[in-house]
Amino acid sequence: MSILIAIAVVGVIAALFGALLGFASIRFKVEADPIVDQLDALLPQTQCGQCGYPGCKPYAQAVADGEAINKCAPGGEDTIKKIADLMGVEVQPLDESHEQDNRPKVAFIIEEDCIGCTKCIQACPVDAIIGAAKQMHTIIIDECTGCDLCVAPCPVDCIEMRVIPETTQNWQWDINSIPVKQID
């Protein structure tokens, strides 16, 4: 008889704690940041599509699914390093096909040549171009990510990518001005 009581008591306690834990796991659930969002946060958000995906989020999804980590040209080495850290894989050099001038740029519309076709507006992933049909268009420089996507659709080639000029605001101390000597 006493053994039955013991089993019943232990059973009740187990059920109680089980219920408590179950409640706690729902009530105090910690929202884990999914890997895709973490990857997306590392990408430069230019939405340029140079990786072959229609935006940064899709590429983040692809990387999470096992795509190569070295396809983000605007992010460059730094981004590859960060993704490699996150994914626990080896750092790879930037994809050969992207080897190019990676200085930050913004698009610029040569206004006298613009015919107002609105093609670039449709191509811009971040709505950084303003204009209307048969009206001259222009770029909102502060919003432009320099993704290059508006250049190809322009029928009169009036869009060019211009390197952001160096000012005292964005100037960086040149590491080379401090000659660092290697000690043998």
């Binding site: 430069p44 935006g55 992933p125 709505d127 919003e143 029928p155 009169v156 100037w171 401090i178 000659p179």
Partner: protein, 775 residues
């Protein structure tokens, strides 16, 4: 607070961590009075001379300006105006090298000094006690006063704080070696400085005012004590000499024992600090209505013959200063010029750099004095982990650790090590036995972190915009689909009603489609070498077109739904569209006759188009009246000159199509077979000049002759010469007609291919086709 004041009055102070005692070198200039300089020939006044934005320009090149006249207008609270330092003429507004370690250029005003030094009208006001706080703050802002100790924060913002202030600290510590500008200013202008302090007191209403002066400035201390005699609320505090006592947080610690927390401002602890030179500038601005146009600059260093402090107009270039202080010109390029002190200053890359509101010292060291400044080669060796840097760091950081992380670009680690609390004082680099330029590494890292933060913000913004756009496109797509569905349903309902209108519409569409077919058949046969007038061909055409018409009618019902699409898919869209439209408008029962006599029909269509065009041209382009006249005269005579007008019309379109295709192709790539294309174009362009002109004016935007010099050359040349022969020579017209048709076929083929893809292969194919059809 009482205990703090007691301590201060008894001459006891707290001490901050670390600090160094570098050789002072102040004796070079400390004993000589502030000198006034002759007016320079030219002033270069940068628009931005402080932290914050630049104002909007108020003057233009060629304007005459008077001394003290505002040159810019502050458009936001952080911006400050600048003023003309003397009277003269603005000769240029352009970019010039500014006082910044990068040696970058910023917008500057170039003023040619007229030597008269004529003041603008000033409202001197001795009675500042009558002014309200907001009036005083406005005066300070309008005078363009920024902190003159080095950072250059706009003074009116610092002053305009509602917080309860315990201490107003006037910083006359001037701890950096060599510099004696504040020392001399206090000695000579103590009364004006006290006036400035009283004005600040009126605005800020602090409980106590402390003037901090290091004990190596006996003259300044004496002068300030005399000037503040009888003012119980002002205490002159003689603090022990140590570098960097003049640092804001360090001086607060020394005077009050309070430590301003990391990332916080002194104002949150109830403390405001102002430089003595700023106080002087405030008294000048409020009492004398004199904007900030000159300041005391210590021009020192053993390479100079007569180092001395001087009143220097803002915008005076360094080479003018050097010419005043040195008998023989200095070796340009070899002699280092340091702006600011030896600890926190930076090397100036050009001697055209102007003095600005924050420049307090120009240091020209001799080689014995500062060999490191001459030696471009760094003597840096490995860190020996002696820990001296951590001992002297006034911010209690770990410079050695920071250095490693900075070299490794490990920014998160630098954040953890509180790099942002580094005040760039350079004490660590000064004591480093391995001569590591520690502070340079920190500056690089700080700039990069700042840049990274800006990029992060930008990326976040881009992400938001991208997501928003995606959402919007999705919505638009759904809305469009719904609309299309509705429209399709409505169309279906209308068709099924079987009303006479519906039947009419049906037959009209069918007729139009049939005509398209017929015309296509006609064009293909016309492209054959035989003339389209030959009897056999006409009969052939008739048969073919009848068959085509029958097929077309059968298809008509199915096609009427996506009729527009079909039309678009046709290669010869540009040619077909106008005939279709005009035919639909005209008659529906024409079908048979039109189909059996394609040439006749073509002529009619052409005539109509020509008429329509003529109307349009007459409206839009009166400049090309000649061609318009021709088109309109030719159009109404279909019987005799039908071939002519038709050919002309067609040719115009062909030319347009070719030009368009060309423009696109050429824009994309210049290819090996370009030359053959060009030949074809020129051949076609030669056919009819008038129509090319029409086309040109119509398609001005699309063709963009300025972008394609080849095409424009062809068009241009054809515009001039063959136009005379065209109207007179009919036989040539026949030949031209043929050519035009061939060209049409080529253009069509090309247009189609190019539309799909503009790679080399396709263009080669197009050219092959060209050759085939030509042979």
């Amino acid at each position: 607070m009482q205990s703090i004041l007691e301590r201060i009055t008894s001459g006891k102070f707290w001490s901050f961590h670390g600090g160094i005692h570098p050789p002072e070198q102040k004796a070079l200039t400390a004993t000589k009075a502030i000198r006034t300089l002759p007016l320079p020939k030219q002033l270069i006044v940068p628009l931005q001379q402080h932290i914050g934005g630049e104002g909007d320009l108020l003057v233009n090149v060629g304007d005459k300006v008077l001394k003290g006249q505002p040159l810019t207008l502050a458009s936001n609270p952080m911006a400050l105006p600048i003023h003309a330092p003397t009277s003269g003429i603005i000769t240029a507004i352009k970019k010039s090298v500014i006082a910044h370690p990068s040696g970058l250029s910023e917008l500057c005003l170039f003023i040619d000094v007229d030597g008269k030094d004529t003041w603008i009208k000033r409202n001197k006001n001795q009675d500042y006690q009558q002014l309200s706080s907001s009036e005083i703050i406005k005066k300070i802002a309008d005078a363009g006063i920024s902190g003159m100790g080095g950072a250059g924060f706009p003074t009116h913002i610092k002053t305009n704080s509602a917080a309860n202030i315990d201490f107003l600290i006037i910083n006359g510590a001037e701890c950096e070696p060599y510099i004696t500008a504040d020392d001399l200013l206090m000695t000579e202008q103590s009364q004006a400085i006290v006036d400035g302090i009283n004005i600040l007191k009126q605005v800020i209403a602090p409980k106590n005012i402390l003037i901090a002066i290091e004990d190596n400035k006996p003259n300044a201390i004496k002068a300030m004590e005399i000037a503040t005699k009888g003012l119980a609320h002002i205490h002159v505090c003689v603090v022990p000499t140590k570098y960097p006592t003049g640092g804001e947080k360090q001086l607060i610690k020394v005077l009050t024992g309070k430590e301003v927390p990391s990332g916080s401002l002194p104002i949150n602890c109830g403390i405001i600090m102002q430089n003595v030179a700023t106080c002087f500038a405030i008294s000048q601005a409020v009492i004398n209505d004199t904007p900030l146009i000159e300041r005391v600059v210590t021009v020192t260093g053993q390479a100079l013959d007569t180092p001395q402090n001087a009143w220097v107009l803002l915008g005076t270039t360094i080479d003018f200063l050097l010419s005043q202080f040195s008998a023989q010109p200095l070796e340009s390029g070899k002699q280092p010029v340091i702006m600011g002190g030896p600890m926190m200053g930076f090397g100036v890359l050009s001697e055209q750099v102007p003095i600005i509101k924050t420049s307090n010292c120009i240091l020209i060291p001799s080689k014995q004095e500062m060999p490191s400044a001459f030696d471009r080669q760094s003597k840096e060796v490995e860190c020996i982990r002696c820990g001296e840097c951590a001992v002297v760091c006034p911010s209690q950081l770990l410079p050695q650790e920071l250095q490693w992380s900075a070299k490794a670009k490990d920014y998160p680690q630098l954040e953890k090590l509180n790099l942002r609390d580094c005040i760039d004082c350079g004490a660590c680099a000064y004591v480093c036995p391995s001569q590591i330029p520690l502070v340079q590494y920190y500056r690089i890292a700080k700039a990069e972190i700042r840049q990274q933060q800006i990029l992060d913000i930008k990326a976040e913004k881009a992400k938001v915009r991208f997501e928003a756009r995606k959402l919007r496109l999705e919505k638009e797509k759904i809305a469009r689909e719904e609309k299309q569905k509705k429209a399709a349903a409505a169309r279906k309902a209308a068709m099924n009603k079987a009303t006479p209108e519906a039947a009419n519409a049906k037959s009209a569409v069918a007729a139009a489609l049939a005509r398209v077919k017929a015309k296509k058949a006609g064009t293909t046969t016309a492209a054959a070498p035989e003339s389209s007038k030959s009897e056999n061909n006409v009969e052939d055409n008739t048969q073919k077109s009848q068959v085509a018409a029958a097929i077309a009618r059968a298809k008509a019902k199915r096609e009427q739904k996506n009729q527009t699409k079909d039309r678009g898919n046709n290669a010869n869209t540009t040619e077909d569209k106008p005939p279709q439209d005009s035919a639909i408008e005209s008659t529906a029962d024409n079908t048979k006759s039109v189909a059996s006599k394609p040439d006749d029909k073509k002529a009619k269509i052409a005539a109509e188009i020509a008429k329509a065009k003529a109307k349009k041209e007459a409206k839009s382009a009166p400049s090309i009246t000649q061609s318009t006249d021709e088109a309109s005269t030719e159009a109404p005579i279909p019987a005799t000159q039908s071939d002519n007008s038709q050919a002309d019309d067609k040719k115009a379109k062909i030319a347009a199509a070719i030009a368009k295709a060309k423009a696109k192709k050429l824009a994309k790539s210049t290819q090996a077979n370009q030359s053959t294309d060009l030949e074809v174009t020129s051949g076609n362009a030669d056919v009819d000049a008038n129509n090319t002109t029409l086309t040109k004016s119509e398609k001005k935007a699309a063709i963009k002759p300025s972008h394609e010099p080849n095409i424009s050359d062809n068009i241009g040349s054809s515009n001039t010469d063959p136009s005379n022969t065209d109207s007179s020579n009919k036989t040539q017209n026949q030949a031209d007609d043929k050519k035009a048709k061939i060209a049409a076929a080529i253009a069509k083929a090309k247009a189609k291919k190019l539309a799909k893809s503009a790679n080399e292969n396709t263009s080669n194919n197009a050219n092959n086709n060209t050759q085939k059809e030509l042979t």
